[in-house]
């Protein structure tokens, strides 16, 4: 009973947030709605006894990634409602509509076709409470999935280095910039 109530509440929070992301006119409000969705998902994780994933969800997604979104929104000064009629590509709106309708149709087909519960079997054996949770996750990350894990981290490092290389200015240019007094 409690499980059902928690699920319904958290799902409602997720969906409200998700709708808010696309309906809010102000980009900052959209980002905040995204945080709400992430919190709802974190609650779902806790209900599934995946406490560690819930914590990571809040720390990484809500605490770092959306903060960076907001950072960019504020720095670029796009924190005002924009005129949606002025789209960059003329077919953008129609393409979006097509893909959106396509995904919705696929989801509908899945709901009708799949009769068995999608995740019937438990992913990992053993008690999933407390520290066991972290231990099991670490074991499968660093044994069965170690290549995928390390390759992902390599990808992230490459992305970071790429960003630094792209953003790096030649030393001479940098010197002239600091002389103008905008070092920070």
């Amino acid at each position: 009973m409690v499980d059902t109530v928690v699920f319904i509440l958290a799902a409602a929070i997720c969906l409200t947030g998700a709708l808010g992301v696309i309906l809010a006119r102000n980009p900052v409000h959209s980002a905040l709605m995204l945080v709400m969705t992430l919190f709802g998902i974190a609650v779902q994780f806790v209900a599934q006894e995946a406490h560690f994933l819930a914590a990571v969800q809040v720390i990484v997604y809500a605490g770092a990634i959306v903060v960076l979104f907001l950072f960019v929104i504020m720095l670029l000064g796009v924190d005002r409602a924009q005129n949606l009629e002025l789209s960059v590509l003329p077919i953008q709106k129609w393409a979006a509509l097509l893909f959106g309708a396509g995904s919705l149709a696929m989801l509908g087909v899945l709901i009708i076709v799949v009769k068995d519960p999608v995740t019937g079997a438990e992913a990992m054996g053993g008690s999933a409470t407390g520290d066991e949770n972290v231990r099991l996750l670490a074991r499968s990350l660093f044994s069965d999935y170690v290549y995928a894990f390390e390759l992902t981290s390599l990808l992230l490092v490459i992305a970071v280095i790429g960003a630094v290389v792209l953003a790096r200015k030649p030393k001479k240019v940098l010197d002239s910039v600091t002389e103008e007094g905008s070092e920070a």
Binding site: V28, A55, L70, F71, M74, D131, K172
Partner: protein
Amino acid sequence: MTGDPLFIDGVDLGDIGIMAVKVLVAFTFLLVATMFMVWFERKLISDMQNRIGPNVAGPWGLLQTFADGVKFFFKEDLRPENADPLVFRLAPYIAAVTAFLSFAVVPIGGSFGSGSSGTVTIFGRETYLQVADPPIGILLLLAMSSIAVYGVMLAGWASGSKYPLIGSVRASAQAISYEAALGMATVVVVILAGTLSTHGIVAAQSGGITRWFVVSSGIVPFLVFLIAATAELNRPPFDLVEAEQELVGGFHTEYSSIRFALFFLAEFMNVITMSAIMVTLFFGGPAGPILFGMTWFWPTIWFLLKVLVFLFVFVWFRATLPRLRYDQLMHLGWKVLIPLILFWLMFISLKELRAAHNWNWVATYGAAFIALVIGTALLLAGLRAGDRAFQDELEEA
């Protein structure tokens, strides 16, 4: 050892009552401690600057904070015309609520070690002296401190004015930068304790000062945590967020009355919580000698005394150290603290792994040293090659 023994045999009305009392006590404690902390800081800093400080309201000016609080309540609540109405009102609550929530995982008493597992008996029920002992334990603190960024950031943005915006952008960049160092210093402690639960971390430190993690982790993680926590709290010397000479009041320039009071409250509550967390992670929490009688009473006294030391340290920082420049702040965070704590994390992991598998000393550290040398050489070579290619490209252009 999983979770509070209070909930082992189901939850009944008495358990809920005890929880309610715990929440109420923690809440009241934090509020009173905040009032005390404000007075303590003002009094101490005036001593350090040869001033008298607040001395009119109550004995030694003790009631000054209370008077200020009452004043805040009765002031008019102003909202700038350009402000975003909803977010402007939301921001102070995010700041205050996260400040309250992070204190919930701190064990504030109970004797650990020599057979007792830190439980106390209230009305015939055994329980821990902390509001909650969730399985993720210390991660709750990290989660709350990353959510607290929103309070500052949204306050600055929603004010619709330039100084608060600059202050809040600075604040979020600073908080994200130092969170990495803070988190990794915590990971060192978690590796040593073998658990995320704050209760487990305190239990792992029971049995003498040498078992406190400040000693057994080497002093480095503690120092990194202290510096990163100071930055995370936006306390001097890292208070660029509200650098008065440059930004008026920083992110809360446009706030007044009770909304400003909430930010103020959150700031000082975070100082108290961070001090309590440092005591929990590195200084054995409520550990200390039990002198006479009332065995449940002494651990709490020791805990409070240790927290008081850190509160003093934070005020001391403020009175002594000049504010860092922004590039110095980023340099310290990214180029000093993070590499240092990353190295230390590797070192501690290796040490633990060697002990667990009983590997040969020379082979283990020899291999690690060779890997370090090769890695450094490769990195330096890569950097030089990159630099050269970059210079060539420059000359062509």
